[in-house]
């Protein structure tokens, strides 16, 4: 265990030092995207990995976070940091509204219901004039400052903000894993009826896990809106994004603390690099490569890459 902590400290130290050593914008951008998806993957892992409820609607929380921030900033000039909090509030509300009926469904039924919810959200935002409809929202260009959450000359501040979000998400996931909540969630995943017979309030703990997942994903949405400064429905709420979050967790290891981190470090460079190197001629090849990886992993190693790294040392 002690070795694990040392590895973690070296890893986070390297992440923090990286942009100071390498000044190129592209690797910084790549790591920002990796950390963004790792944080969202951690969020998905709490509901999908620990609790075993496969949500294909998590992109909705990302969209709600991004849109809450953008609408408040554009229409009322409210700081994105407050927008972040408002986004979290709405995301939790959405998680509760969606979760209350959906969590009575099991397995595939739940998964398909979350697809439906995600698609409804996408359609609502695509047709909602106030939220920019299909065109989306351009953020106003404000002077660079922390309070405005906008930095134009360098990606460095964004890098450290997402690093903090990523580490915080990891910390929350660690707390969940160690807490009573985490044990309940895993009990629900392994044997729902058994957990119920032991007096665990299934609905309640699924809802808590879903809300935590929603908050983490929503914060990532706010970050994305401020990083890219332009959002539209398909860039923030597409079904494919929800699927990618599941894939990241599957690649790394479902229900494992570092699973989504490993998954994001493998998945994001793979898709970004195939896209860069193959260009428009190779459009679709990135999808083919990672779909084969998913199929192979799901058939032969459903525990993910984490299980390969830790084979022999942990159970």
């Amino acid at each position: 265990m002690k070795k694990g902590i040392i590895v973690l400290i070296i890893f986070l130290g390297a992440l923090a030092a990286f942009p100071l050593v390498y000044q190129d914008p592209f690797p910084r951008h790549m790591l920002i995207m990796i950390m963004l998806y790792a944080a969202m993957g951690i969020g998905w892992n709490i509901i999908g990995g620990y609790t075993g409820q496969v949500s294909f609607g998590n992109a909705a929380f990302f969209g709600v976070g991004a849109y809450a921030t953008a609408i408040l900033l554009v229409n009322y000039g409210i700081s994105p940091w407050l927008g972040m909090i408002v986004g979290c509030f709405f995301s939790v509300a959405l998680a509760i509204i969606v979760g209350y009926p959906c969590f009575r469904l099991q397995g595939h039924y739940f998964a398909i219901a979350t697809i439906a919810v995600g698609e409804i959200m996408l359609l609502v935002f695509t047709n909602w004039e106030y939220a920019g409809a299909a065109v989306g929202i351009y953020m106003p260009i404000l002077p660079e400052s922390f309070i405005n959450f906008e930095f134009h000359t360098s990606k460095l501040p964004y890098y450290y903000i997402i690093l903090v979000i990523f580490v915080a998400a990891l910390g929350v996931s660690h707390l969940v894993e160690r807490s009573r909540l985490g044990y309940y969630c895993r009990a629900i995943k392994e044997d729902t009826d058994g957990a119920r017979s032991l007096g665990i309030n299934i609905q309640r703990y699924k809802m808590i896990a879903f809300s935590i997942s929603a908050v983490i994903t929503s914060i990532c949405g706010t970050f994305y809106a401020q990083y890219v400064l332009y959002i539209h429905p398909t860039s923030t709420m597409d079904l494919m994004m929800s699927i990618q979050l599941c894939i990241i967790c599957l690649i790394g290891g479902l229900g494992k603390l570092y699973g989504p981190v490993i998954g994001a470090f493998v998945f994001i460079p793979m898709t970004e690099l195939t896209r860069v190197y193959l260009g428009s001629e190779g459009q679709g090849v990135d999808l083919m490569i990672y779909s084969m990886l998913i199929i192979i992993l799901a058939i032969w190693r459903p525990q993910g890459l984490w299980a390969i790294f830790t084979r022999g040392t942990a159970k």
Binding site: P101, H108, Y109, A116, E119, I120, G284, L287, S291, A298
Partner: protein, 287 residues
């Protein structure tokens, strides 16, 4: 206004039959082995591309290439079963979801790579044209597709209920162990279910190509509609899928007509959620 309303109802009914045909394979496979094929809509896409290329390369009308498409998709279904589904038949649900999702992403990636994201359509088929009934125009391709869907769904139902092979299939769905003791090879039955399930979506794709665009993402919406139809009708129920297909078709066109075409799909999804929250097993599903 009244004529337009009837026109809307008719087109909803016609597309509803086709939805039922797209969904029937999905519900059959689910009913037999509790596996949801998330790539179902993308097999439809493969069938549509096949029909399209038969036309573009050999000048073969989608109606004439239909038998070939059906056979191809039948083979593809069996191949999918032996290659990908058999290894995960007893795996946790998550593995099953990810494998079929992997197939979905793979097929879309392959289509994007080979044929780019362009929308393609066959300009003129042997079916092009309209029938004129009073104020109502009915497209011949749509009418043919609906008729084909009814025939094909009828055949599936007849096969399952009246033939020995079909009954063997249902026996495996009912109780794998007992069926094995009766000398039924469940493995072959599963393969057959995949073959037929994917072949029906091949028929639907061939019929659809006469009047719809082909593009790599075409399976996304039709696939989602197929899930809605299956969940609405009840997982595993062929007659349920038939009824639900018509309901979905009608809800879609009516909400498009009364509220606005951009919302038609939303109402289908809302209807679906409403039904599964009240009756999780669907309209005609078994608990």
């Amino acid at each position: 206004m009244e004529g337009l309303f009837i026109q809307t109802l008719v087109s909803g009914l016609l597309i509803g039959f086709l939805y039922a045909l797209i969904a029937v394979g999905l519900t059959m496979i689910f009913g037999m082995m509790d596996i949801v094929n998330f790539a179902h809509g993308d097999y439809l896409m493969v069938a549509m591309y096949f029909s399209f290329w038969c036309f573009a390369l050999f000048g073969m009308d989608p109606l004439y290439s239909l038998p070939a498409v059906t056979l191809l998709l039948f083979g593809l279904g069996i191949l999918t079963y032996y290659l990908l589904i058999k290894p995960i038949i007893n795996a946790p649900m998550l593995s099953q979801i990810f494998v079929t999702f992997g197939v979905l992403i793979f097929l879309r990636g392959l289509a994007t790579f080979l044929w780019k994201v362009d929308y393609r359509m066959i300009p003129q088929t042997v079916l092009s044209g309209n029938i004129h009934l009073g104020d109502v125009y009915i497209g011949i391709p749509q009418l043919t597709a609906a008729a084909g869907a009814i025939i094909c769904n009828g055949l599936v139902l007849w096969f399952l209920k009246k033939t020995r092979l079909g009954m063997a299939l249902e026996a495996v769905a009912e109780d794998k162990e007992a069926a094995r003791l009766m000398g039924i090879n469940s493995d072959r039955m599963f393969a057959l279910a995949w073959g037929i399930g994917i072949a029906t979506v091949g028929v639907a794709g061939a019929l659809l190509t006469s009047f719809y665009y082909v593009f790599p993402e075409v399976g996304a919406n039709f696939g989602l509609i197929a899930f809605v139809v299956v969940a609405l009708g009840g997982f595993g129920s062929v007659t349920g899928a038939f009824a639900a297909g018509i309901i979905v078709g009608l809800v879609e066109v009516l909400s498009g007509f009364l509220i606005g075409p951009q919302f038609k799909f939303m109402f289908v999804l809302v209807l679906y959620l409403g039904v599964v929250f009240i009756r999780p097993q669907g309209l005609l599903g078994k608990k």
